[in-house]
């Protein structure tokens, strides 16, 4: 039996000139989608409050305007007290994003400070700081946040920002510490030290620039956490309930029984906005991950050799020529394998007499 290699070196394909590698083009598709989606909300947050059709807090006394479904005058309908949902949403996106961005900056800065100093101080202080971040990682954040906010005399935006920042740094600190430990022993850092650079200069110009992607990922994560936590806290009533954020909108909608009254237009827009902002951040983070670890990318962007995509899990040429698996469980599993994928795409030969790959669970 002759075994043909799936890769045929095609000189023409190999000589393909490298495509222009702009920053945007080089981004994985998920990162692009995330950035675009997030951009929409950031724009809404910047422009929105300037173009709100109504004052979000204005209560229209006319009973005819209470709980109106979406119409031309009120594009997203009205609340029970005749407030315009669209105006609340636009102002709310602004406030929520603002809070999340500030928390993201403060908490990420804290995690860089803690992570880098733990790695550089070493010894006792490293142990203490690492222990501290591990402890705060394992203690569930929300009950502690509730306790802290509950005791604070006023529960305004500043209090929420403060509390969220204080509890938001451990994850980033842990990752950044590990990375700093790895970089610290590299030759270029040693070289910088040998030339007499001070420690702070080594940190600011040698270490930090090499951790930018990690810091960015940690920032995105922190923003995600801040949005989730602030919305949950506001939903519980632990926020300044006179201001309009996505969380307070949900609080009022829930406490005035929007769904029971059938007013989906009141509760769905803020919830969907939270979910979509969250999705964009998760996509962005996954995309950043893929940027740093090309193996994670979709099959569409794995290594291309000779015009054919190659993948680590591809079956070896010997396996490709081997008889297909028999039995139900093996067949089910096989349908998920790289080989079945290649067979489907006509890249692997389907051995003669082989039945079509069974669909999951659907035989007989």
């Amino acid at each position: 039996m002759t075994v043909t290699l799936p890769v045929k070196a095609d000189p023409a394909a190999l000589a393909d000139p490298p495509r222009d590698s702009g920053l945007w083009r080089g981004l994985p598709a998920k990162a692009k989608a995330g950035t675009a989606l997030l951009g929409v909300f950031v724009l809404a947050g910047i422009i929105g409050p300037l173009v709100t059709p109504y004052d979000p807090s204005f209560q229209n006394p006319s009973p005819a305007l209470s709980l109106q479904p979406p119409s031309a005058a009120h594009l997203l309908g009205t609340t029970q007290s005749g407030q315009d949902v669209l105006s609340q949403l636009l102002v709310g996106i602004r406030l929520t994003l603002e809070l999340a961005a500030i928390v993201g900056v403060v908490a990420t800065a804290l995690s860089v400070i803690v992570g880098v100093s733990a790695a550089f101080l070493g010894g006792f202080w490293d142990d203490v700081l690492s222990l501290l971040s591990n402890v705060f990682l394992v203690i569930p954040a929300l009950p502690l946040l509730i306790l802290l906010l509950g005791y604070l005399p006023q529960r305004g935006q500043e209090a929420t920002i403060l509390v969220l920042s204080v509890l938001g740094w451990p994850w980033g600190a842990r990752v950044i510490r590990a990375q700093t430990m790895a970089i610290r022993n590299r030759d270029f850092v040693g070289a910088a030290r040998e030339t007499g650079e001070r420690t702070w200069r080594v940190i600011a110009f040698e270490i930090i620039p090499n951790e930018v992607s990690l810091i960015a990922a940690s920032f995105v994560n922190t923003v995600l956490y801040a949005i989730g936590a602030s919305v949950a806290l506001a939903f519980l009533g632990l926020a300044d309930l006179t201001s309009w954020s996505l969380g307070t909108m949900l609080y009022w909608a829930q406490s005035q029984q929007a769904l029971q009254l059938g007013a989906w237009w009141w509760i769905v827009p803020p919830g969907l906005a939270v979910a979509l902002i969250g999705t964009s951040l998760v996509l962005l983070n996954t995309g950043l991950d893929e940027l740093g670890n090309p193996r994670l990318r979709d099959a569409g962007s794995v290594a291309k050799i000779g015009g054919r995509r190659l993948h680590p899990a591809d079956p070896t040429p010997v396996l490709l020529a081997a008889p297909p698996p028999r039995g139900r469980a093996a067949g089910l599993l096989h349908s998920f394998s790289r080989r079945a994928l290649l067979e489907e795409r006509g890249l692997a030969p389907r051995p003669a007499g082989r039945r079509p790959a069974p669909s999951p669970g659907g035989e007989r």
């Binding site: 569930p140 929300l142 998760v282 994670l296 680590p312 469980a329 093996a330």
Partner: protein, 328 residues
């Protein structure tokens, strides 16, 4: 120090940090804030008033060290004082009533989500670029939805529009809680929608993580060696790749647990589920500080205990953890 002993020490330290934070938070708030809190309960019974004062560290409670020791002693005896809003109920009684509900619901739903997500992650990672892998971005949407919002939507779809599930509560009206089938059946029926919410929102996270580790593991030489030997796929997937990929996943489970529990307790509110989340909401809305503090401790200790169990599993699965030089 063996792996488990070291982890045990770590959790003890974490528990001590939580206990101490719980003790010092009210004392760090300053006198006027404390007076505000006390003035919210003008009609308090003397014994409850005394308990509240002791908890907040005002009145004549003795030195701070003495207060601290008394506080630790109380916590060890599961004595969280008297509830200030539901006088004369003791806080510990309220907790004992609600903990089993949350523990059963959140515990089983989280385990289901973890097993399901890990399994799907194995398949998505194995068939990288296949259909399961391509629906992942869609699942990320569910991962980003706040638990309570999804709960609201599911409630609207399946309980209000279509009367397929109950509107809320832990069991049917008129049933007496006890170990008989009509009650257990009703309790399971009422927990389906909340459990479904937890599974949907958390499954994507486990799946994504497992997929990523799987993909990295599949790139290892020993997996290639297994394939080259001509081993059947299922052996390569489960015995070679998944078994090793499971370790980071288990370590992540411990860390993500606090997050899942936090989301789940807020979700309970939407379903008026008689668990600890609803109790927490009542505590927050009525400024019931003794109850809030006790709930914080109970949730934290439960999460720490769950983490310890996960570590026991890791020690069982990973021979390196059992050996002296366990990777942190």
């Amino acid at each position: 120090m063996p792996f488990i002993a070291r982890r045990l020490v770590f959790y003890l330290v974490a528990a001590w940090v939580a206990l101490t934070a719980n003790f010092f938070i009210p004392r760090a708030m300053g006198g006027s804030a404390i007076e505000d809190i006390i003035s919210k309960f003008p009609n308090l019974q003397p014994s409850a008033y005394k308990a509240l004062q002791a908890m907040l560290g005002v009145g004549h409670p003795g030195s701070i060290w003495q207060q601290y020791l008394t506080y630790l002693d109380d916590v060890f005896h599961f004595n969280f004082g008297i509830d200030v809003t539901e006088y004369p109920a003791r806080v510990s009684t309220l907790l004992v009533q609600t903990i089993p509900w949350t523990l059963t619901l959140v515990g089983s739903a989280t385990v289901i989500a973890f097993v399901l997500g890990t399994g799907l992650g194995i398949l998505a990672g194995w068939r990288h670029g296949g259909w399961l892998d391509r629906v992942l971005p869609g699942l990320m949407f569910f991962q980003a939805v706040p638990y309570f919002f999804l709960a609201l939507i599911l409630l609207e779809l399946f309980a209000i529009s279509v009367h397929a599930f109950p509107l809320g509560q832990g069991y049917g009206a008129g049933l007496v809680p006890g170990w008989h089938w009509s009650f257990i059946g009703s309790a399971i029926y009422h927990s389906l929608l909340p459990a479904f919410t937890i599974v949907i929102t958390s499954v994507a996270g486990w799946m994504l993580q497992m997929r990523n580790v799987m993909i990295t593991t599949i790139g290892e030489d020993y997996v290639l060696a297994g394939q080259a030997k001509g081993l059947p796929d299922h052996r390569v997937v489960f015995t070679y790749a998944a078994r090793n990929a499971l370790l980071p996943q288990l370590q992540g489970f411990g860390l993500a647990l606090g997050f899942v529990v936090s989301g789940a307790i807020v979700m309970e509110i939407v379903f008026s589920y008689p668990g600890i989340g609803l109790l927490l909401l009542n505590a927050v809305t009525s400024n019931d500080f003794p109850l809030m503090q006790a709930i914080f401790l109970v949730i934290t200790f439960t999460v720490l205990l769950a983490n310890l169990i996960v570590d026991l599993v890791i020690a069982f699965v990973d021979p390196r953890a059992r050996a002296q030089e366990a990777a942190r």
